[in-house]
């Protein structure tokens, strides 16, 4: 599996099961490893910790159970362009 493959496989599984997951576990966090669910948890951290422990692999996918598509996450334009660093350097 390439780095992207395991995410694609997990995302496909998530999309296929989303309607039933929304009915039973809306707002919770699911861990997917390969083509199966490891479990549903109340928080991201709980899901992540248990996911790594159970899968014994870092190639897990952690998703919040909610409708897709969600709004894109904003990333600071100034930091991306390096504009913030344009002024004279000041050491911390």
């Amino acid at each position: 599996m390439t780095p992207e493959d395991y995410i694609d496989i997990a995302n496909q599984w998530f999309s296929d099961h989303l309607p039933e997951l929304l009915q039973t576990h809306r707002g919770k966090w699911i861990v997917i490893f390969g083509n199966e669910s490891i479990g549903v948890f109340d928080s991201f951290s709980e899901a992540y910790r248990n996911g790594i422990k159970t899968a014994k692999s870092e190639k897990i996918v952690v998703r919040e159970i909610r409708e897709e598509p969600e709004k894109p996450r904003e990333i600071s334009i100034n930091a991306t362009l390096g504009i913030i660093d344009a002024g004279p350097s000041i050491s911390l």
Partner: protein, 192 residues
């Protein structure tokens, strides 16, 4: 019962905040379960910008690569090049010189051409009291324990206030202010 509070504060200047924004040093490390799995720890200290323009806390691709992070999700992001896809990771991080420690925190990858390798986004800021006090000569962040989700841990011991006492705003009373300035000058002369 006192509410546990995690605090970060440091002295700064109006010029620094104007030119560079609220910058802090952050140490990013691997989550505990990953450390156990790999049998080793990795950590890196980087410069972060407190950024109300970022939805999530972000780390640069360079940092993700250096720590050998493995993606847990891909999300849509809106940046300078429009909408794209970015990896998400889980990391632990601490604000250098403070008791603010966030564990298993989800972060989004971003590309940067500057020296800022991390953006502290609204996911952290929405839990915090943030002081952006250029004219007060200080900046700080305070996270009250009562609102901290389970992936945040912080010490509970009493720490200095977010704004250092010496950096607080001068009195509005002109006489008092002049007196304080005179005293400050005298102190400076003594130091020299």
């Amino acid at each position: 019962m006192p509410v546990p509070v995690s605090r970060y504060s440091r002295q700064t200047t109006l010029q620094e905040l104007y030119l560079q924004g609220p910058l802090i040093q952050v140490t990013v490390s691997l989550p505990e379960e990953v450390k156990k799995l790999r049998g080793r720890d990795e950590e890196i200290t980087i410069t972060a910008l407190i950024d109300t323009g970022a939805t999530d806390t972000c780390i640069s691709g360079t940092v993700a690569q250096k720590l050998g992070l493995v993606s847990i999700e891909r999300v849509q992001t809106l940046g300078v090049h429009g909408v794209g896809e970015s990896n998400r990771y889980s990391v632990n991080f601490t604000f250098t010189g403070s008791n603010i420690r966030l564990n298993d925190w989800p972060v989004t990858e971003f590309n940067t051409s500057g020296r800022i390798d991390m953006l502290i986004g609204r996911d952290v800021l929405s839990l915090s009291l943030f002081v952006y006090g250029g004219s007060y000569g200080a900046m700080g962040l305070e996270i009250p324990g009562v609102q901290i989700p389970d992936w945040v841990s912080g010490a509970t011991q009493e720490l200095p206030s977010v704004i250092p006492k010496q950096a607080r705003a001068p009195s509005r009373n002109r006489k008092e202010r002049r007196k304080a300035e005179k005293l400050a000058r005298r102190e400076q002369r003594k130091k020299r």
